[in-house]
């Protein structure tokens, strides 16, 4: 006892240490693990992608696209006709079933009796959307008498011949009316005693029941036998057993290969029991071979033995009893109401149970904890990755909060798990998804959504490196990682004026390069309007000229002649309408004064403008404004004598003002301007 105490004390310290260690472990791994647990259940409930569609999860994909390789459009019709032919010539024209016997250990006493087997074909049709259950059609094809518990060596029960049933295959064609999913052969065995047996004393029959109940006590399936008793005692007619055999699987393949069958039957509660209550699929469950104890089961469960073959000729109703060959184990054993599923294709071949050791490294790589697993399930998602490569790839891509390093291990594989220090949780996907409306649309939980159309890879078939585990080994820095194959861009741009994200479809339109935005034009005009020392006509010309220069962005002296002619081209008529002829001439003169244009240009421009005056509507306008100005100037200068020339006369008032302007210009011309822009500015500053 004291020693034990000491032992306890000795252990005590490590316990606290272990606890502290555990604390550290939790500290490092708890939070990301919780996050991944949450994500796991979310992905189970409403996945945003399917694992099996990932290329590295090919093991989980049950479909192979082998047919696609050889597919040709022209073959389509051939395929259909072939298929229908194949169905028409179902192995043969008749399905012959020769019943060899009904075996039930509990019916030992009634050896030699006859049981009645009624065979039905149940058509299971495709469920339509609105129907709650698949429609069933049941057809009885025949009733035979079968010996109960015939001895193997015996040449034949009563007559040495066996009851045989022939079903024409046209019953099974899948294209009559309703689209039929599959057919099920249903056998219903009723223990109806024939004439001779009917005369037997009741005691004997009772004995049967008793013996059954005795049997049930040492067997482990008491339920059935109790039922048997009940059925026996209540009805007194005889028990009914039923068994089903599915003919075609999902893909229309025939499951009933010729051979000898032992069909396990289940006791039915009464005659009224509906056959084939639900599709066999629903009750189907996978059972591993270890759990099935054949000996016990086949000893205790009633079995209907028969030979099945496809034949071109109708067999006579009674045939010779064939000699039994030793039954191959698990040749075709169909458990009651369980359909066989084809083995999923493409499943990675079950490798030898390998050990996957997870080594959790934490606390600055100073501590580690190891956990072993025997399968390739992801410890966070419990997703079965089927192969080590898939597992590693999955871990690396889906659990980025950790780093995983693969280390080969004699017993299998070791994976070093550490916290990813570089993980910042930032979104690495398409930023368009983040700004898409409504919020979080890309991650919407209500169903699939359209992908944002920015990065559209038309065709990209990069040569994928062969999947090899070496990419998960600890890597040197200069390791050549395969590049990601995102063509195009993965960036989000914003409009300069509104700061709104640029939608993908707006990308091609560069609308924001213009240098004379509306507000600059407006502001320029407003500023010119604020001048107090220039008259309205000059303001007008300044606005027109400045906006013109701004629009075309003339930058050099050499462009000024061009600017002048373009100005006249676009604004010439407007100029004349606003009676700005003289203002323009003055402007030309001052441009000449600053040495920006030669005399030739001045001459040409004025000629150009005068040509525009030939337009009758312009002339009318000019005359009107001349009249008006003459009247106003008469008021101002009563001594003034108007000249007869319509050109020279227009603006007396303006000419006085413009002389002031030219004074201003000459004053400033000392600071020799070189660029047209400067002149513009001067023009404004006036």
């Amino acid at each position: 006892m004291p020693q034990k105490k000491k032992d306890c004390l000795g252990v005590d310290k490590p316990v606290s240490e272990v606890q502290a260690d555990h604390e550290l472990f939790l500290q490092a791994f708890e939070k990301p693990t919780q996050i991944y647990r949450y994500l796991r259940s979310r992905n189970v409930l409403s996945p945003i992608f399917l694992q099996r569609t990932l290329y590295y999860m090919r093991g989980r994909m049950s479909r192979s696209h082998k047919n696609r390789m050889s597919f040709k459009l022209d073959c389509l019709l051939d395929k259909v006709t072939q298929k229908s032919e194949r169905q028409n010539e179902r192995p043969a024209s008749y399905l012959n079933i020769a019943f060899t016997g009904f075996h039930d250990d509990k019916l030992e006493g009634v050896c030699g009796d006859v049981a009645r087997v009624e065979t039905f074909i149940v058509k299971m049709c495709h469920k339509k959307r609105k129907e709650s259950s698949a429609p069933l059609m049941q057809v009885s094809v025949g009733t035979q008498d079968v010996n109960i518990n015939p001895s193997e060596g015996e040449g034949g029960g009563g007559c040495g011949r066996n009851a045989c049933l022939s079903i024409p295959t046209h019953n099974f064609t899948s294209s009559n009316g309703h689209q039929v999913k599959s057919y099920v052969l249903v056998f219903r065995v009723s223990l109806v005693h024939d004439q001779e047996n009917a005369g037997e004393p009741v005691v004997k029959r009772r004995r049967v029941g008793r013996s059954a109940s005795q049997d049930s006590q040492d067997s482990n399936i008491p339920l059935i036998s109790t039922n048997a008793i009940n059925g026996d005692s209540h009805g007194g007619v005889g028990s009914t057993y039923a068994g089903e055999l599915v003919m075609f699987d999902r893909h229309g393949r025939c499951l009933l290969t010729p051979g000898q069958y032992e069909l396990m039957l289940e006791l039915q509660a009464g005659e009224t029991t509906q056959l084939c209550k639900s599709s066999p699929k629903k009750n189907a469950s996978w059972e591993s071979i270890d759990t099935l104890k054949f000996d016990g089961i086949f000893n205790n469960i009633p079995v209907l033995k028969f030979t099945l073959n496809w034949n071109s000729e109708n067999s006579t109703s009674v045939i010779e009893r064939p000699r039994l060959r030793p039954l191959k184990p698990l040749d075709v054993v169909l458990a009651n109401s369980a359909s066989t599923k084809p083995k999923p294709q493409g499943v990675a071949s079950p490798e030898a149970p390998q050990l996957v050791l997870y080594q959790f490294v934490y606390n600055n790589n100073s501590r580690q904890q190891t956990e072993a697993r025997r399968d390739f399930h992801c410890p966070w998602c419990s997703l079965n990755c089927m192969a080590l490569y898939s597992l590693l790839k999955h871990l690396k891509l889906c659990h980025a909060r950790f780093t995983f390093t693969y280390v080969p291990h004699p017993k299998g594989a070791r994976i070093d798990v550490a916290l990813n220090e570089c993980y910042d949780g930032s979104y690495a996907g398409n930023p368009q998804d983040l700004v898409a409306m409504p919020a979080g649309f890309a991650f919407s939980r209500s169903g699939p959504t359209r992908r944002t159309p920015t990065t559209s890879v038309l065709v990209c078939r990069p040569k994928r490196p062969k999947p090899s585990l070496s990419e998960f080994l600890e890597q040197d820095d200069d390791f050549d990682l395969p590049r990601s194959y995102i063509l195009g861009h993965n960036r989000l741009y914003h409009h300069t004026m509104t700061c709104l994200p640029i939608q993908p479809h707006e990308l091609d339109e560069d609308s924001e390069g213009e240098h004379d935005s509306e507000w600059v034009r407006q502001k320029t005009q407003m500023m010119i309007d604020e001048f107090s020392d220039v008259n309205e006509g000059e303001k007008e010309l300044m606005k027109m000229w400045n906006l013109h220069v701004m629009k075309y962005n003339f930058v050099g002296d050499s462009q000024i002649p061009l600017a002048c002619s373009m100005f006249l081209e676009s604004h010439g008529t407007e100029l004349l309408r606003k009676s700005l002829y003289r203002n323009f001439v003055l402007h030309m003169v001052s441009l000449h004064d600053f040495g920006l244009i030669g005399t030739g240009v001045v001459y040409k421009c004025i000629l150009h403008l005068q040509n525009k005056m030939q337009d009758p509507s312009v002339q009318k306008q000019l005359a009107a404004s001349w009249e008006e100005q003459r009247r106003s100037s008469k008021k101002l200068f009563s001594s003034y004598n108007g000249s007869s020339s319509s050109f020279v006369s227009p603006v007396k008032q303006e000419s006085t003002c413009s002389s002031a302007t030219s004074n201003g210009l000459t004053e400033e011309s000392k600071s020799s301007p070189t660029k047209s822009n400067v002149v513009n500015k001067k023009c404004c500053v006036q």
Partner: protein, 388 residues
Amino acid sequence: MTCGTPTLRRKGRNKRRRKKTPAPVKMGYKFVCYLKEDHGQPIFGVQFNQHLRDGQPLVFATAGNNRVSVYQCMDDGSIKILQCYSDPDPEENFYTVAWSYDTETGRPILAAAGSRGVIRIFSLATMQCVKHFIGHGNAINELKFHPRDPNLLLSVSKDHALRMWNIRTDILVATFGGVEAHRDEVLSTDIDVEGTCIVSCGMDHSLKIWKLTTDIMLSTINQSYTFNPSRAVRPFPTVQQNFPDFSTRDIHRNYVDCVRWLGRFILSKSCENTIVCWKPGLLNQTELKHNDTNVTIIHKFDYKECEIWFMRFSLDYWQKVLAVGNQQGRTYVWDLDISDPAQARCSTLTHPKCVAPIRQTAFSRKGNILITVCDDATIWRWDRVAQQ
């Protein structure tokens, strides 16, 4: 000072209670209850849902920290929390909320925005943040819905600009900012009842009026309903309004942090202990002029101890009561239902525990409940005392 004011207040109140006869009808608001939000951070915004009519529940929303909470004023005088939304970003600090409704379903919509500059739209019926708008370059100081069109949302931001959004079609209709617009943070805005004019104010001491009745604005608003972004090649032609229709810096000498239309007049406040009622131009002038330098001050509502900025006043739906809180936790209430503004009587609401600055006040539609929110995360409910 602190002892002087209460006596004054008491005197005033007593006088009113005793006399009960003279012309100016007195406003009586009585403290009913208060509650405190657990984050302990200032609550900057409170708004009643004034779209709810008589007989419908009295619902208001608050904005503070990274939370937007929706409360109901119960008949028994208590406040019941209905919903609470928390921004995923703990750094977010909501400054303002605004109510609207879905024009199709009639369900309430709550907009909130704050320091991150993201406008969030909550659908209270589905309890979701159904939309968000990004685009503002900085914090958003106030949100306002257009009084006539519940889909038009006006936001004002620290980025010196105002934006008008169509929240139904997610389109930015217009920005009001630029060369002649605010030169500093825009702090507050209001749209007049008819939806014709926006007034905005900010840290540049200025108040600016923007017309919404210009052709370009009207056509763009219409276009914002019909524009199909998935079909169009070019982005929506957002109006870039650089030039206000009226601008003044003559009303206040400091940050202008709250402004409201009162008919054709404007109520605005700065941190100068006064709310100014004024109008642009001369008294008889009806048209706005761009270069107008005239303003007419109608009346000043003076109060005390409110020198810090970002303190908002509020009016009830019928614009008959005006309330503002000060930095000592006192609330000043004026009855505006009088013919002469000089007659407006002020009453002060105090509570010994209400000592933190009152950031904003909100009246229920009928004006019978006043909610004030404070810097210490408290929400105060004051009910109007039944008058004889």
